[in-house]
Symmetry: D2
């Protein structure tokens, strides 16, 4: 099970934040070697990056299509490709690799339209490929533990959800009077690259993903209000949410809330207790069975059970952070890739799959539509 | 300015929580003596309470109307009456005392309908009386300090509001299958006594009050969803809010969120910074000017300025709690009563006045109406 | 049991912090009326204070000895006297009231020398009087709950103690180069008034008191180091402590630790778990049975048991602070005074008694002696 | 500067915690490739590990001495060796690699005796080799930032230090009555392998290292008390400390404090402010200039300055943990190795050097000696 496999990367050139994170995440468990890549559309940067990561010269590709085709022909072809490019390119790149029979691990959001998302899902299924999506937060052990406790009935039936994802990195753009969209935010607030949503597409979608993961509930319909403050795309959004079990909640996401850096906070309230997880303190989980004291569980301590126990890299009290969450996702994905390659049919997919990716695109689109209609209820397709 | 005055109380008999709190609050500053009362409709309890508080026998009244009339005739009549009865009685009792020319400090919500509220406001104005309403939280020094910082522009223009008031004391009623409305919640979930709302009328209204107090903003319109879980009145409510400056936010209130006891949390986000105040840790205030570290201010330390400086009873680090906040409101009210009695025309009203009471009733009614219309936008009248 | 009694006060004139706190504390439960006093050696201030608190003219005394003698003669004499003067006067004043047969509630430290302390203890016993000492912190419900849990064996045998009491109010005196002892610190850093210790006598003694109260352990011997930074008395002290069960710990107290206002923190470690209480967040208690999650108990919630349940004035989540802790001590003291007066022999003394006062004086003296001997071990007498 | 180099490892076989952490740490920055190793004295495990990490067959050594000699002969020899074996072997292994001219990065404590430590220091100097020691905590960006602020005078002169390192992983051994030394604690409580100290040697030494790093102060003398609770070596220790600037403090370390997992907490108090860093929340730093609010700095935000800015791998709010701190140390070490190899004479050594290692051994020995003498003052040699 622990053998090493090969992967390629599209995107992740010099200066790209998320590509580096993916490489670090994979490196931690040393389960896959980077052997091919198309890192940048700038050929110098592409080569520079390929050399830095010791990718053989002939597997540094200047074009992702060629990469997909050429890799597909090799005996020692890549076992999967990590796609870490801007949002507007995901659809085409994914399609190219699927068509060439290569497993995919793609950043979120999966693509722009629900149609594209469903098409990719269908194609991947047709080609019988594994498809991971970069929803990182379910990779945290304490999120796994939260899911397990909720499944076991520890908090009873979910009756209320209060979740938020607050950042402040775009506040200068709305406070200095300039509103120069591209200054700080780069492509994220450019509709041509980012799609119809900035804030919800970038971070709001993680709320939907993490809440659904923890609770098993699906968002049924939402009312959303976007705030743009003079920008082309929203940088702040508040939503009323109804879930498929009939319960309600609020989701808030923002890139202009001072003093919040990567503040994903998920609070799930049940009729027998409550659970709270805070991404900036990811090694703990707050659980309150009704009538009992608030309990703070710490990662890797003796009172943790289930899948979370298997995902520790270092002992309790030694903080593990975001990259380890991504490592856990990748390692699970790599396990599945190997199991599948070995003909093992009942492999486990303990990472965000394309279903999560499709769900995310539906959520983003419902949010955009609701905002456009003065926060009318919009059902998820 | 520091002379002692006289007050009476309606309600607050044995076992009544809030009446005792009012008495403790007034006792702390020793600025008013309880000399008259109609504490309970049960005559035995009424007398018992009167004797306990050393009220003269002839000023223990069995009926609030007689109390208003008799007190009005005395030379040493009460300077104000504290009304701490259940919601459904506020309107009639307030009216009786106003008609007899007695200043009022009444618990919230002020009354059931907007019409009643406006009538009381007009009557009090006509009789030139002072009228305080029991919105306690602006009495906390750190809430005063938050207001001052926002007024000074410390966080710039308000762009987003996230506020909540979560409790869990009714969770047993929705989780044990019995749904016996009166068991724990008493009159609060009984529409006849509580009006058309339980949770919003009891605690949600404090969110509106505290946010408006801190920011100076008014709620313009809301979308609200009530959850009843089989009870007659709501025990959980989530809202989208639009303020008169065009910014948005979410309000959540609940009596069924495990692990939350009296969790009023107000977060105000501006385009130059953010402020957060947490009622369960009321002696601190979190302020984050954009681009700077998060700052934790502590009550009664050298870095606090303005009105908050005048409201400390004990040094920094020695926790003051809810009762002190109410003391501050009462002492400000008593100062105003004395100043007005002395013919001082420019007295200050640093407590929640009847305008806040009217505003609260409007808010509660808009919430009820929006919920009834599938969370349609409802403007506050 | 709930009848009201009469008390007098020595000290507590205008501007005196602690006297006002005692009056507020007694006022909250309305169990005793202030009917006599000797508030200040300045006659104007004495009268001003007496009038403000509506003390009858003939019971505003210019001299505590006369007060003790005159009160003793009255049929309606005070049931107890609250002594809230500077440290150097406690001994003489206590003695005068004991000799006149009046129950005492005196601020800490009880007096200057162990001999004086033992003499007061013997005298009070001889006269069969009740004697409370102003160690406030055991009055907090969550400190009571900690004591109960430890007694029940929840954390097993105590194996380590880590406690501190950090403030910063004297930091300006050591940082601005002036070292003008009286500027900020008033009499506290003046040996003539404060005795041989400032910081340990003022706050360090609370560590000893609170730890002993919670655990039932007695300090056996200590090593202490005082830091004066140019002042006459210490403003910072660190200690190694050995308890009578053989376990060890550290005590730290300081008035020059920036960012700490009234930071009494007590952590008791047992071989089966740990307990932590933080005075600045006094409504919660952190308990960790080994192998279990950390548990946060909240005051007045359903999971609290024992004596702590009886001491709530307002519901959970509504913060109670320091004054309520003192109220609890006074109310227990008043209950004992009444019970004793009524001839009830098995009254309870749930407040810090003179034994705690004597213990405190012993501790302070051992600390002074150890510091003088290069932190040699000094046993408590 | 960014070229990749080669390293070998001694220790770190299957199941060894710390070896895996070192490999993960190095992998994150991809600056060195593992090309040689002697992972275990068990030949099967040694081979298994070598194969797993794709070490060439001929560079999987069964003996560290042979490894040192053989590697020294190669043209493509390792640029440094990481030594991650139990404490009792460090001295001999370090010596073998120094004698063969190979740079070293060795786990702490460096060795057993001060003589050995000084010998290694002298040898390394004689051979002109770089020698890093595994004191990880200075690698955290916020510890760097603390050091910078203290150097800049942000908190003035250091006047008091309060630091602790509390864990609970050995509590079962002292609470279940068995005291079976080897059960949980393995070699750590076995004097033959661990040396004369368990708890101080394992974690207490990190307190001395981190405090010295942050403040630039040296421990001058200590009083220490060890608690063994029936074990052969101490599992709990409290100390009074005097620094070379004359200020005092307390250090506490423990492996039996329930509810503490890896609780290194360092609080430095100056006459102009205070700094606090908590290892379990390593991405923030608490700074309180006197008279100002408490400031919470977050890693990778715009208000951080100096060296800490260069050490971020992911944006603010995305937690980085312990492994990243070690990565920072290794990358600095690798930079120095390359610079030195390139003949650059003014390379920077921003990692814990052998001086820190020697200092640690002195501290541990003073602690052992003081405890043996009833906590007498013992000066560090």
């Amino acid at each position: 099970m622990n053998r090493r496999i090969r992967y390629g990367m599209v995107g992740g050139g010099p200066g790209a934040f998320i590509g580096a994170v993916h490489r670090m995440a994979i490196n931690l468990d040393e389960r896959a070697d980077l052997v091919a890549g198309c890192f940048s559309s700038n050929e110098d940067k592409n080569l520079q990056c390929g050399h830095k990561y010791q990718v053989p010269e002939d597997r540094i590709y200047s074009n992702y299509k060629i990469m997909a085709q050429e890799e597909a022909k090799r005996d020692d072809k890549i076992d999967f490709v990590a796609i870490v490019t801007p949002n507007n390119t995901h659809y085409e790149i994914c399609k190219a690799f699927i068509e060439n029979g290569i497993n995919i691990f793609c950043e979120k959001p999966l693509c722009f339209t629900v149609e594209q998302a469903l098409e990719l899902e269908a194609l991947a299924k047709e080609k019988d490929l594994l498809f991971g999506v970069g929803y990182t937060y379910p990779g945290y052990p304490m999120v796994k533990f939260a899911k397990e406790l909720i499944e076991k009935g520890e908090i009873g039936d979910v009756i209320n959800v209060n979740a938020e994802y607050l950042q402040d990195w775009l506040i200068d753009e709305i406070s200095d009077g300039s509103n120069d969209t591209v200054k700080l935010s780069g492509w994220r607030t450019n509709p041509a690259i980012s799609g119809g949503s900035n804030c919800v597409g970038d971070i709001g979608t993680h709320i939907e993903n993490t809440v659904s993961y923890m609770t098993g509930l699906k968002v049924k319909r939402i009312r959303s209000i976007f705030d743009r403050f003079g920008m082309e795309l929203e940088v702040n959004a508040n939503m009323l949410v109804e879930f498929d079990n009939g319960c309600h909640g609020v989701f808030s996401c923002s890139q202009v809330c001072a003093g919040h850096y990567n503040g994903l906070v998920v609070r799930i309230f049940g009729n027998k207790g409550a659970i709270e997880w805070v991404q900036e303190e990811p090694n703990t989980l707050k659980v309150t069975p009704k009538g009992e004291p608030i309990k703070i569980y710490n990662r890797a301590t003796g009172c943790i059970t289930g899948r979370a126990v298997e995902l520790n890299h270092i002992p309790s009290g030694h903080p593990e952070g975001l990259v380890f969450a991504m490592t856990n996702n990748y390692t699970s994905f790599i396990d599945a890739v190997i199991a599948k390659a070995d003909g093992n049919k009942d492999y486990v997919t303990d990472y965000s799959t394309i279903e999560a990716g499709v769900s995310g695109v539906k959520f983003i689109h419902a949010a955009i539509e609701s905002d456009a209609k003065d926060s009318a209820w919009v059902e998820l397709p």
